[in-house]
């Protein structure tokens, strides 16, 4: 180390510096970073493959550091989707890409990669999917890019980044009953807005982390992009390390922000003050606490996605649905995010509860979240979904509506036929 004291760095800045081979970085600096993982799905990878072929090289930079997960329109919803998956399957075979996940092993990408141990603390990860920011829950720098960046990443193992500033969120205390990571992140997005963290990192620290499970943290980091953030990142603690040891054999590196790190803004969040929160259409920042939602009748509930399709989400949904029936005017669709979560839900008897309640259980897919298939809305219909976006037309007809909520609120709403808390059942 040099004698000249360098400026304090945030977690993200330290990870980026280490991957660019630099001692330090400045906000706004353009750097070339080494990549530990390059990800794509069935929508973005076909465009990336086309661009990759234009470069005119034979091999990808590392067969083990690319993951291709056909999860959006799979199991293939129509002929065109089948052609797109066929195109990328052939590319994966041709290049010997190890981590291509076929239907049967496939899961929703951002639930699948951590579960398979493909991403660990200290990594730099790009994915041609905006919710790639999910892996920040593990203390990695992880961000969404487009198909051309994916192509360049597959070819060179590098990507350029502008070093971001960060906003620090210090979480304190314990969340109350029915309050999960989803409610905390909806509350935060409601507070700072859909462009509140534009081009910046959201860094989550504080003693409140100890009461948040890894599934809570995945769900929060997942939605950092809904505040415009480049990435969301969590300080690494014992829970992170336990998760990584259970799921991965890869070496990892823990980075912590310097004590004198400079933040553009700092917020302190008392977790005990947060109530179950619902984001009204058409933007994720239209947050209202459950006591202020009014009487919103619904037609569909979706419990799943890269935000909330993990085992804890399934367990919460089951705890709420147990002994109840889905309202006769509501279709309730439950989608465990990976095969492992699916099997675990089955073995724990959660499917009996879901089916007895009158809910449908689907194979893993992103499906309805982006209006692909497996639960599209008609004109004028409303859904409560544990997904991450409620934009115009997101789940179907441009005049349909999506309300974002936690699995507890979604399950209770399925029973009540309107947006409701489990306490009302």
């Amino acid at each position: 180390m040099s004698d000249i004291r360098r400026k304090g760095l945030t977690m993200t800045q330290k990870i980026l510096a280490s991957h660019a081979g630099l001692d330090s970085v400045e906000v706004g600096q353009l750097i070339m970073s080494r990549l530990d993982m390059v990800l794509g799905n069935d929508i973005t990878t076909p465009v990336a493959v086309k661009e990759f072929r234009k470069i005119g090289i034979d091999n990808v930079f590392d067969k083990n550091k690319i993951a291709i997960v056909p999860d959006h329109f799979t199991p293939n919803k129509d002929i065109k989707s089948a052609e797109q998956v066929k195109y990328i399957r052939e590319f994966a075979k041709e290049k010997g890409i190890v981590n291509f996940f076929e239907v049967g092993q496939m899961g929703v990408e951002h639930a699948l990669l951590p579960e398979k141990g493909l991403v660990v603390p200290g990594d730099v990860i790009i994915g041609a999917d905006s919710h790639t920011c999910t892996y920040g829950a593990l203390g990695a720098f992880s961000t969404g890019v487009g198909s051309t960046d994916m192509a360049a990443g597959m070819a060179t193992g590098e990507a350029w980044f502008k070093v971001p500033e960060a906003i620090q969120f210090e979480l304190k205390g314990k969340p109350g009953k029915w309050v999960s990571g989803k409610d905390i992140i909806l509350h935060i997005i409601g507070m700072i807005g859909v462009d509140g963290a534009l081009y910046k990192s959201m860094e989550f620290v504080g003693d409140g982390l100890s009461s948040l499970s890894m599934d809570d943290r995945f769900s929060m980091a997942n939605m950092a992009v809904e505040a415009g953030a480049k990435n969301g990142i969590f300080a690494v603690d014992d829970k992170t390390i336990a998760y990584v040891k259970e799921h991965s054999n890869r070496p990892y590196k823990v980075f912590a922000a310097d004590e004198d790190a400079v933040y553009s803004e700092k917020y302190t969040i008392e977790l005990s003050d947060i109530k179950p929160t619902v984001a009204f259409p058409p933007l994720p920042d239209q947050a209202r606490t459950i006591d202020k939602v009014g009487d919103v009748k619904i037609d569909q509930v979706v419990i799943g996605s890269c935000t909330n399709g993990r085992i804890e989400d399934m367990r919460i949904a089951a705890a709420v649905l147990k002994g109840h029936k889905v309202h006769p005017d509501v279709r309730c669709i439950i989608i465990p995010a990976t095969q492992k979560i699916w099997k675990q839900s089955m073995e724990e008897g959660l499917f009996n509860i879901f089916v007895d309640a009158g809910a449908a259980v689907s194979t893993p897919t992103c499906g309805p979240c982006l209006g692909g298939h497996m639960g599209i809305l008609a004109k004028g219909e409303r859904a409560v979904a544990t997904t991450n976006r409620n934009f115009i037309g997101r789940m179907g007809h441009p005049e349909s509506e999506v309300y974002l909520a936690s699995p507890a609120i979604a399950a209770a709403s399925a029973v009540a036929g309107r947006i409701a808390s489990p306490d009302e059942l």
Binding site: I43, I55, H72, K77, L198
Partner: protein, 161 residues
């Protein structure tokens, strides 16, 4: 390089789901994507857009999904440049990577009206509103991004290296 075009204007937070809805993402064909561009927000766009038109919008343009199909659809529809108060970061990156001209200018985004005629000088970053007879300054690109743009996108840049 200079371009000239008529303005089609939108508001804040124009997301990639309205630029090109996911139901059309089972193809990556630019012409097919362009035929559905903006349809959930503005059904008239596809009929009225003319080659060279300039799209102007408010803050956080292109927020949401990472789909490169969004800038591809805009470019293929004939739009020559997008001016916004701010862009969502993935959209910004994707536009540079595929060679869709974009300019961040809060001043221009606030002042320009639907139907105005603009002339943009990419070398100086000056936007001339010929209808209102005023000039605005766009944020210049860092040198590194100018090199990508000059190489006709990221793939061209990598091939050069």
């Amino acid at each position: 390089m200079k371009i000239q075009g008529k303005v089609i204007k939108y508001g804040n937070n124009v997301d990639t789901d309205v630029i090109i809805p996911a139901r059309y993402l089972n193809t990556a064909d630019p012409a097919e994507l362009a035929s559905h561009c903006m349809e959930d927000l503005d059904k008239t766009f596809v009929e009225r857009v003319e080659k060279g038109d300039i799209m102007v919008a408010g803050s956080n343009f292109g927020c949401g999904s990472s789909r490169e199909h969004a800038p591809i659809a805009i470019k293929a529809s004939g739009i020559s440049c997008v001016i916004a108060e701010t862009f969502a970061r993935i959209f910004y990156r994707n536009s540079i990577n595929i060679g869709l001209a974009i300019i961040e200018s809060p001043e221009a985004a606030a002042d320009i009206s639907e139907g105005d005629m603009l002339e943009i000088d990419f070398d100086s970053g000056l936007i001339h509103n010929q209808t209102k007879k005023v000039f605005y300054k766009g944020a210049p690109f860092p040198e590194f991004m100018q090199k990508i743009i000059a190489a006709d996108g990221l793939i061209g840049y990598i091939k050069q290296k």
